[in-house]
Amino acid sequence: MLSIKRRRYVTIVALIVALSMLAVGCGGAADKGADSDKEPAADVIKIGVYEPLTGTNAAGGQMTVEGIKLANQLYPEVLGKKVELVVVDNKSEKQEAANAVERLISKEKVNVIIGSYGSSLSMAGGPVALDAKVPVIGCSPTNPAVTLDNDYYFRVCFIDPFQGTVMSNYATGTLGAKTAAIIQDVQQDYSVGLSSYFEKAFKATNGDASIVAKVNYNTGDKDFSAQLTEVKSKNPDVIFAPGNFLECGILVAKARELGITVPILGGDTWEAEEFLNQVTQYKDIYFSTHFTAEEPVTEVSTTFLDEFKKAYPDKEVNAFAALGFDTYILALDAMEKAGSADSVAIRDALAATKDFKGATGIITLDENGDATKTAVIKKVMDGKFVYEAKVDPK
């Protein structure tokens, strides 16, 4: 008897689940039907966005999408047509990123794609877009390999080699360093890439023996005393420690506690509340980033800053939102220049981008599709991020 009862129970539950899924599916299907009805009229231009909105990289992806949406509100039209954003989540997973791009291209039929936070996700999406000949503009993938051998991938951020070199030049030029130590997160391509270029540039100016220590840690580590003790014993003039804001916040605070007073340098990921909270009472902490609120690089920066404060009054302005903003207006600019929403025409227009005024600086795309633009160096002072210097590309 019991088993029959239970079976009936299971059937009922299964039925409910099936029905609810069906309802959801129908809702979606109806929605899609309306979309495809609109399509033949071609009164919208679709811009696809694939960003990590869930999973390990969710924070960065969400900040970027906020920037893109803000730009969309400000500039909702191009070529006399409405722009529709299609945002899809890539779950911070490579296979999902590839699926997402494929979906944007073959189901949503987007004209141009924006994304993604995280170089490895961008590398998964890139080849799909290249095959379909749909241009992609990256907001913040900094690994040089992203645009390598891919004529349809562009980006508005500067890349690891540039950032590493800028920090090296700043260390030798302004801070007068002769020796340096590197502390890197071996699991982050970003950290390893930056360190490797910093090392190359620093050795080129100060000789092969100038890097006195190079120590590793892993993402998620909380104790850095071993690495820092080793670095301290080598007595470098500066420490270069690019990496996630969480680990680096703990690392920098710990370094100061251990009595390491030399300047500590990092990359653009440090521009986060979480990092600042850890290091408020310390100084001589420098990092490179994309833009600054104190010294707006272009008039677009001012617009962006004002609008961002209006749209998200309780949020701190961040570089990822600014980069998202820039990718969107760059896409619109390319469409206007191309005079059409044809993907190949947009690509050609993007490739020819020169002196484009974005919120994060004046962007020129080189033959690889990488942005050459001004980097900003900020430091931590009195519990705030303070503008320090501007470094122009050579």
């Binding site: 699926n99 890139g126 490797s196």
Partner: protein, 353 residues
């Protein structure tokens, strides 16, 4: 009975033919998006059944699958990348000279990926399989993480955390589903062989199996190694599907995705794993609509919520675990005998009436 054997043989051939025709039709007529989803589900099917061999048929709670996939993916990637792109991509430390000039065709690379993963499976299995149950789970999870960390740190072989790019792309449905079908056939044969009976005996009662003269340890290692072999092959296919690999792909959360497939499909059912792999992969994409903003009958404007898909999956998994513990298929298989019996009894009933 002989009659039935013939019928089953014919039915098998017909089924393969139907699948073949579908693949042949799909390759030319489906859009790139559907082909990609189908290929991904083939990979998950291979992963599901290989994990099921270890988990469902031999009863070993191993969570090392993502590690073996990682090995397979890297072996396949390094063996097939062109020397020119290796030179550019290994910009931090040049690749070790032995591997710099290697460039293999796709199929040998896939097999090599499986073999290397199997060797690692064998080596890890010998110490780890002395443990049981949750201890085994923790040990294998640890080994999988060790593999990933080693891959991250051997920069001159794997390019570390920067990952590899420009892996030749394979898009054909034939390759992915062909290998998936071969895997299903091989595992089916293994499960119905003496080895398979030994595996199941170990799963049901180790002591009884030992008393019957089954060499527990060697059979466990065997099952584990075969599982690792196919995980390696699936990893290689993943590399060719995405065309870039990096160590963060193979975090232990990936193993849980495969575990989800195995549990939903039924532990101890190959066809269950295949069906649930296909369903889950396709649902993952279909359910994207719940993350898009949409109107509900024109009354409510529901904003898109990222992560809704996962919520639905979580609820589904909860329901399965609470009310339908054996999963979609339990330990049953979809096979012709079942179908033929049904038809037979139906006929009989018809005759008696």
């Amino acid at each position: 009975m002989d009659d039935r054997k013939n019928i089953k043989f014919i039915l098998n051939i017909v089924l393969l033919l139907i699948i073949g025709i579908f693949l042949w039709w799909g390759q030319d007529n489906l859009s790139a998006f559907y082909i990609r989803i189908l290929n991904l589900s083939a990979i998950f099917a291979i992963l599901g059944i290989s994990m099921n061999l270890v988990l469902g048929f031999t009863g070993m709670f191993s969570l090392g699958h993502s590690g073996f996939m990682c090995i397979g993916a890297y072996v396949a990637a390094i063996l097939t990348m062109s020397p020119a792109s290796k030179e550019i991509i290994y910009f931090m430390e040049p690749i070790v000279p032995v591997l710099a000039k290697v460039q293999w065709p796709i199929l040998p690379a896939i097999i090599a990926a499986g073999i290397v993963a199997a060797i690692f499976g064998f080596l890890i299995g010998i110490p780890a399989l002395r443990l049981r149950d949750d201890y085994l789970a923790i040990a294998t999870l640890g080994f999988a993480e060790i593999i990933r960390i080693v891959v991250t740190n051997t920069i001159s072989i794997t390019n570390g955390s920067l990952g590899l790019k420009n892996i030749p792309s394979v898009k054909s449905l034939w390759v992915y589903w062909g290998i998936a079908i071969i895997t299903i056939i091989i595992l089916k044969k293994i499960i119905n062989s003496n080895w398979g009976y030994a595996f199941k005996a170990i799963r049901d009662n180790e002591i009884a199996a030992e008393a019957m003269g089954v060499n527990i340890f060697s059979h466990k290692v065997l099952s584990f190694t075969i599982g690792a072999f196919f995980a390696g092959i699936a990893g290689a296919l993943m590399a060719f599907l995405i065309t870039s690999v990096d160590p963060t792909m193979f975090r232990f959360t990936f193993t849980f995705q495969i575990l989800l497939i195995v549990v939903l499909g039924g532990m101890g059912s190959l066809t269950g794993s295949v069906i649930s792999a296909v369903i889950i992969t396709i649902l993952m994409e279909v359910l994207r609509v719940v993350e898009q903003p949409f109107d509900l009958f024109g009354l409510l404007q529901i904003p898109g919520l990222p992560g809704m898909r996962m919520v639905i999956f979580a609820i589904g998994l909860l329901l399965v675990i609470l009310f339908y513990r054996q999963g979609l298929m339990g330990t049953r298989e979809f096979n012709w005998d079942y179908l033929l019996d049904k038809i037979h009894s139906f006929k009989k009933r018809g005759a008696s009436m």
